[in-house]
Symmetry: C2
Subunit: 192 residues, 2 copies
Amino acid sequence: MTPKTDLRETITEVSCNLFMEQGYASTSIKQIADAAGCTTAALYYYYEDGKEAILHKVIEQCVPDMMGMLATLEGASSLYELVMRLGDAMRTEGPELLRRLRWLMIELPNMGEAERAMLHNRKLEFMDRLTDLIEPFVDGRQQAEMLAWVNFCALFGYGQTFISMDLRSYRDVPDTEFVEMLATMTATTYGK
Amino acid sequence: MTPKTDLRETITEVSCNLFMEQGYASTSIKQIADAAGCTTAALYYYYEDGKEAILHKVIEQCVPDMMGMLATLEGASSLYELVMRLGDAMRTEGPELLRRLRWLMIELPNMGEAERAMLHNRKLEFMDRLTDLIEPFVDGRQQAEMLAWVNFCALFGYGQTFISMDLRSYRDVPDTEFVEMLATMTATTYGK
DNA sequence: GTCTATACCCCGATAGAC
DNA sequence: GTCTATCGGGGTATAGAC
């Protein structure tokens, strides 16, 4: 029963949680050690470079698989259905995914050039793929690209607003209605 | 010439800048004192409760006047024009406004219940007012409310994406085209 | 009002025992 | 591999001179 995981794994896991809750700067290695059930000295056995090394490991593991989310969009039969499926995916994987994106954005200043570039690439890949999926249903790639941005930004903005401002009112604006409206607007105006 | 402002004002001003750039947790009172041209002891003359007191003062002053932004929307003659004006307002006041909103969202965990409630109220007031402005052009208040959310979230998501991910590519997706598409979608589908 | 000087604590990090 | 013990440094905060 006891999840006798490696201490190394435990450290990254609890660090991930603490960093996301409090931010990197406000989390002390003492806190991490306590949460992991060891002393600070033990941390340095697994992460020679200390706190910062843990951060980079957490960042690496924290990057969400946004491509996987797009897989469910394949085979949509209309633009309306495509946007609805995107909304569904956001609702399903959204809370965790948006939490991660949000944290990564907050910690950007603590990242190195390489990490920033990696995230930037992931973003572009995601938008490219989403554009691919939209293109068959509209007039030209440029239109598809803009639609990808508008839809992504709307869903992203929706998620950030509620995740950030206060989780309790996540349902003030019903998510199904939000997505339906977005899908209707998109399909009515640009669907062919 | 020399802006011989009160030291008290200087302190809140430089604190605001430092907090927004580095975050509250990563800013030391020594940094604040240096930037304000005084010693840390002087800070405690104006803010007995130290760093945290400065934070609360900065939060208070930092809350953006979102209602003012909506004033420019009055008198719009169509739904399309209304959304375009909203986009214009976002582009004009947007960078500074989104920067503030973003910071406030990040520092939410450091706020008291009262501050959180105040921000929540401001948000609701803003959405209510935006709904008022949209209502004359659509079918019923419920539709207006949802449209307010979709449009706000899209513009907010757009701004957050570029402010956060990297400012340099703010123009990867041209902002005028983004707003035009949003306005077109909104007006075509729901304008009456 | 502002400074100097200082207290005290917690932080990140390491050496060396086990 | 993990702990105990400890160090140096920077952090917040304050007492008292001016």
